[in-house]
C-alpha cells in the first residue's frame, strides 16, 4: 500500500515507519531529510516549503508505481513531505519502504528519494540570519 501525504504537521518517524510495517516484512528502510542550519557561511534560521499539491501527490504516486514495477517484492511505501515552515533539524521528508528481505527496501528507498528530488513539484526557500535575503533553492540535476 502507498501512504502519500503533504502536511504542515511535524513528521513522526515512528508513525510513518509503522505505516509500512507488516508481519510478512523483515525489513523497513527509512530516509529522513532534515534541514541544515547553514549554507555558504550563512546561518539558516528557517525553511519554508511550498508544493503544487495535486501534482506532487501524482508525482509521488508515479514514483510508487515505478518502484513496484522495479522491485515487486516491495510491500509498503510511505512518502511524507512537510509544507509550510520547517525549523532547522526537523524532518522535511520521511520515506519508508518495507519488504520481506532487506535488498528491495534499501534500494527502493534510495531510488524514491532521488526520483522525488528530480520530479516532485516542491520548493524550498531558505531564510537566513542577518541581512541576507531569503533564497529559493534548486536541487542539483
Amino acid at each position: 500500500m502507498d501512504h502519500l501525504k503533504l502536511t504542515e504537521d511535524k513528521l513522526s518517524v515512528e508513525a510513518i515507519s509503522e505505516l509500512v510495517g507488516d508481519s510478512s516484512c523483515g525489513a523497513i528502510s527509512v530516509f529522513i531529510g532534515t534541514t541544515r542550519d547553514n549554507f555558504e557561511g550563512k546561518k539558516v534560521v528557517k525553511l519554508e516549503y511550498e508544493a503544487y499539491e495535486a501534482m506532487a501527490l501524482k508525482a509521488f504516486k508515479d514514483i510508487c508505481n515505478e518502484i513496484r514495477s522495479k522491485w515487486p517484492a516491495v510491500h509498503g511505501i510511505a512518502i511524507y513531505h512537510r509544507v509550510g515552515e520547517v525549523e532547522c533539524r526537523e524532518a522535511s521528508l520521511v520515506v519508508a519502504v518495507s519488504s520481506a528481505h532487506r535488498g528491495p527496501a534499501l534500494a527502493a528507498t534510495a531510488h524514491c528519494v532521488d526520483s522525488l528530488k528530480a520530479s516532485a513539484p516542491v520548493w524550498k526557500r531558505e531564510h537566513y540570519a542577518g541581512e541576507h535575503a531569503p533564497v529559493w533553492k534548486e536541487n542539483p540535476e
Binding site: G33, Y49, E50, A51, Y52, A54, M55, A56, K58, H81, S92, L93, V113, L116, K117, A118, S119, A120, P121, V122, W123, K124, R125, W136, K137, E138, N139
Partner: protein, 88 residues
C-alpha cells in the same frame, strides 16, 4: 485571437514564479492549439517571468507538457509554471 479558437485557462505560479508574477493564480485566454514555445512566450511575457524563462517548465493538468508536440488546450485546463525543484 478569435474567440472560437481561444479558451480560458487558469495559470498557477509557484516559488520564484509566484514572486515575479505577483500572484498565485491568474486566468488567461490562449489558442486551443499552440506550440509549447508559443505558450511559454505568452506566459513569460504576460506575467513578467523573463528572468526565469530558461529555467521553468509548464505543466498542464498536473502533467509536465511535452515540448516537441503541439499542445491541445481546453477550457478550464490548469497550466502551471514549474520553477527548478527543491523538494526533499
Amino acid at each position: 485571437m478569435e474567440s472560437e479558437h481561444a479558451v480560458t485557462v487558469k495559470v498557477l505560479f509557484f516559488a520564484q514564479s509566484k514572486e515575479l508574477a505577483g500572484t498565485r493564480e491568474a486566468t488567461i485566454q490562449v489558442p486551443t492549439r499552440i506550440s509549447y514555445k508559443e505558450l511559454l512566450n505568452i506566459i513569460t511575457e504576460t506575467y513578467n517571468l523573463q528572468p526565469l524563462r530558461n529555467n521553468i517548465l509548464l505543466a498542464k493538468n498536473e502533467e509536465v507538457c511535452e515540448q516537441s508536440v503541439e499542445l491541445e488546450i481546453k477550457q478550464e485546463d490548469r497550466i502551471a509554471v514549474i520553477p527548478p525543484l527543491s523538494g526533499g
